[in-house]
């Protein structure tokens, strides 16, 4: 069964010629069997007719000499019969008397006159004078009881060589094998070539479908659409129409993603303005307080402390904004600081929603993974986690690095992700868009796919949903790992 299942998965260009060859072999074997069987039957029938004619003539010739026990006349008849019946290749023929002795034989040296017929010889002959055939050794034994007035007066025993018949049979068999074998191979080759030619458009289609899976929906070019069957022509037209639709949708989605990005940025900017504006009132109040009561050291100290806290808050907000607006360096490798920066971005949202952030970042140094992709995908997942988690809930980020990949897990205490969303995220080649309000998860899925990563969604005791993103290390970032030196910090400090 396993082999059959494996055979089913073979290409049609192999399977069909093999099936044709198999059928040809089966048919050839069946025809050969029928032909050989018929040939053997005809040969046996002809042999019976021939030997019967031989025995009829011989018994008529020897009956009277046998009645007279005339050795010479019997021998003469047997001897002459050898040349008269050239169609019967006699090895020997003898006349056995009723007492088991040889009256005369065609080979007197082997069967002397008056000697006993060897016991080993008589066992070959049928008691009922039927023809006995040994196809293996190419021998046949025939006998005829000589009767007169109802009494047996002797018996003709003869062994004949039928190897010529078997040789003919073997030649026919070999001819059948050769002809059928040649035809089978020829038909298999012709079938293979014809099918390969017929299935060529399928190969083209497969190649372009594979490109769709890789994210490139390219229409099949005109040269590939020539000289193909009508069915494939229609299929190619529909594929090209589908590719155009996919490209249009892709373009639209990219546009929407840009808009989504700006919407998110606007939302973050609004939040940032709010976060900056809130302490500004207090800071101005603090300045007034300093102007009025700056002489009082206690008041001055507390006011300056207030100013510092307000300015620190503003600095944090500004830093996060810088992170968002920083020009993406898609080819830059990710570092621990890149991940920690995200906390600055998400923290205002977490505070606003009264959600506790647990941040576990075990990453050391830089890793050969795209920093931009990791940050954007992780930020989107964090925003989703914050949205899903109720007030006073916990959102957790855990970043760990192994020898082969970076793993980032985002856990939330929301009601759990829908099965459709989970299926969309974990599928190898998701089609369309996720059943969610925004494009966040779609962007996450694309970024992860571009970096040949994988997504898993699990559930643990403290978190209803944990999205695990595996970012495999890639060679193109490995060379930068040593060169990059905490760029995030540099940018922030700048």
């Amino acid at each position: 069964m396993a082999r059959l299942a494996k055979f089913i998965t073979w290409p049609l260009a192999w399977k069909v010629p093999l099936l044709v060859a198999g059928l040809m072999v089966g048919i050839a074997a069946m025809i050969s069997q029928v032909v050989l069987s018929r040939l053997a039957s005809d040969q046996e029938s002809n042999l019976r007719l021939l030997t019967n004619a031989y025995l009829d003539g011989l018994s008529a010739a020897v009956l009277q000499p046998v009645l007279r026990t005339d050795v010479w006349e019997t021998f003469d008849a047997l001897d002459r019969a050898r040349s008269h019946y050239s169609g019967v290749d006699t090895l020997y023929v003898l006349v056995e008397l009723p007492d088991g002795r040889v009256l005369a034989a065609s080979d007197p040296g082997r069967f002397p006159v008056q000697s006993d017929v060897p016991a080993g010889l008589t066992q070959h002959f049928s008691p009922t004078d039927d023809l006995v055939i040994d196809s293996f050794d190419g021998r046949a034994w025939l006998s005829r009881t000589l009767r007169t007035e109802g009494f047996s007066v002797g018996r003709i025993l003869s062994e004949i060589d039928i190897s010529e018949l078997l040789r003919v049979r073997r030649e026919v068999f070999l001819t059948l094998i050769l002809v059928n074998g040649a035809l089978t191979v020829a038909f298999a080759v012709i079938g293979y070539l014809a099918l390969k030619r017929m299935l060529q458009p399928l190969g083209v289609l497969t190649k372009y479908v594979e490109r769709v899976r890789e994210g490139r929906a390219e229409p099949i070019p005109e040269p590939n659409r020539r000289k193909i069957s009508r069915e494939f022509a229609q299929l190619f037209e529909r594929f090209n129409a589908m590719a155009s639709a996919v490209n249009e949708r892709e373009s639209l989605a990219t546009h929407l993603a840009e808009q989504e990005k700006y919407a998110v940025l606007g939302k973050l900017a609004s939040g940032m303005a709010h976060e900056v504006n809130n302490p500004l009132g207090g800071l101005f109040n603090a300045l007034d307080t300093l102007r009025r009561y700056g002489d009082d050291s206690k008041v001055r100290a507390s006011t300056l402390d207030l100013l510092k806290r307000g300015l620190t808050h503003i600095r944090n907000v500004v830093r996060s904004t810088l992170v968002i607006y920083r020009r993406e360096e898609s080819k830059r490798s990710v570092g621990a600081a890149d991940i920690d920066d995200l906390r600055l971005l998400i923290e205002p949202e977490a505070v606003r929603r009264n959600i506790k952030l647990e941040w576990i970042n075990d990453v050391q140094g830089r890793l050969p993974v795209s920093a931009g992709s990791v940050r954007q995908a992780t930020l989107n997942l964090l925003l989703n986690a914050c949205t899903a988690t109720p007030a006073r809930g916990v959102v957790q980020l855990r970043a760990t690095a192994s020898a082969e990949y970076l793993k980032i897990e985002i856990g939330d205490q929301g009601s759990g992700m829908s099965a459709a969303l989970i299926e969309y995220l974990v599928a190898d080649a998701p089609v369309g868009f996720p059943a969610s309000d925004g494009l966040g998860l779609w962007i996450v899925r694309r970024l992860v796919a571009d970096e040949r990563g994988a997504i898993r969604v699990v559930r643990e005791q403290d978190f209803n949903t944990i999205v695990q993103v595996i970012w495999p290390y890639r060679e193109e970032y490995r060379s930068q790992c040593d060169e990059d030196a905490a760029p995030a910090e540099d940018v922030v400090n700048a």
Partner: protein, 301 residues
């Protein structure tokens, strides 16, 4: 087949005669073994008996003899063939035949009733020998070594094919049944050679003239046999008629026809096939040795 081819080759120098012979053969087919000239159709047919001397069967030779005799006698001739010497002898004695070519044994048995018309000349003399042959695989070197073998005789009335061997046994005070393990008759000298060559019999009694001729024409067959005994020279089987008609015109004409054979082209062809030199007149004394042997055997029986 080789035998027929060889005999045809020997007959080719006599092409003219052969045409006549074939004409005779055609006539023989219409009326078996008779040949008659249309001008003499009213004359009575001459009946001439022949035995299978060494011929197994040769229609061409018989037709030549038929044509030759018809021409010489200027009368229709009928050749009568029988399987055994006894049958021919009986027919001759009963007057059914005008003459016959018989063996010397029947002649000595009935020499008072038979008249010698002609005797063949073989190698210049009207004599021949009896051979006892064995299969080439046999270790026998003399006649006595053939004891215990299966023996092939030619004919009970044949001198060379039976009488001489029977005589050899009689002088040893034994019989074929005692001396040989088994024996049988083949009714033809050539058949004796075939039987011994094939191993059907381990030994056989045969006319020496026949074996010699066969040794030239069919060496593949005679090579499988070996002569272990040669008798003294005996009178050759004669052509005889009834003593009562010795002086009749037909007997004289038949005698003259055989005597004249070497001088006739057709006759020469016949002699060439038979490998004989011709025919001669002879007296009963020629068969004295044969008679002695027959008497010895007769005395034992």
């Amino acid at each position: 087949m080789p035998q027929s081819r060889k005999w045809r080759q020997r007959a080719e120098p006599f092409a003219v005669c052969r045409r006549r012979a074939i004409a005779g053969l055609a006539a023989a087919v219409l009326a078996p073994w008779t040949f008659s000239s249309p001008a003499r159709a009213a004359n009575s047919v001459v009946s001439f008996g022949v035995n299978p001397l060494f011929l197994d069967s040769d229609i061409q030779l018989l037709s030549l003899i038929l044509v030759y005799l018809a021409k010489q006698l200027d009368r229709p001739v009928q050749l009568v063939r029988r399987r055994t010497y006894q049958e021919i002898t009986a027919m001759l004695l009963s007057g059914q035949l005008d003459a016959a070519w018989i063996c010397d044994d029947p002649y000595v048995q009935h020499k008072d009733q038979f008249a010698l018309l002609a005797v063949p000349l073989y190698r210049g003399d009207p004599l021949y020998q009896t051979y006892v042959i064995v299969n080439e695989a046999s270790k026998a070197q003399s006649f006595d070594d053939a004891k215990g073998s299966v023996h092939a005789f030619s004919d009970p009335d044949s001198t060379s094919g039976y009488l001489v061997t029977r005589y050899l046994l009689a002088v040893r005070h034994t019989t074929p049944a005692e001396f040989f393990r088994d024996f049988f008759f083949t009714y033809g000298h050539r058949n004796v050679v075939r039987a011994v060559a094939a191993g059907l019999a381990q030994s056989g009694s045969i006319d020496g003239y026949v074996w010699d001729v066969m040794n030239e024409r069919e060496p593949d067959l005679t090579r499988k046999t070996r002569v272990i005994y040669r008798s003294e020279r005996l009178g050759f089987p004669p052509i005889v008629g009834l003593e009562a008609t010795r002086d009749a015109g037909l007997a004289q004409a038949l005698s003259a026809a055989f005597i004249a054979m070497p001088s006739d082209p057709l006759g020469q062809g016949i002699l060439k096939i038979l490998e004989l030199d011709g025919f001669t007149h002879a007296t009963p004394d020629l068969y004295h040795a044969t008679l002695e042997k027959w008497l010895v055997v007769k005395a034992q029986v």
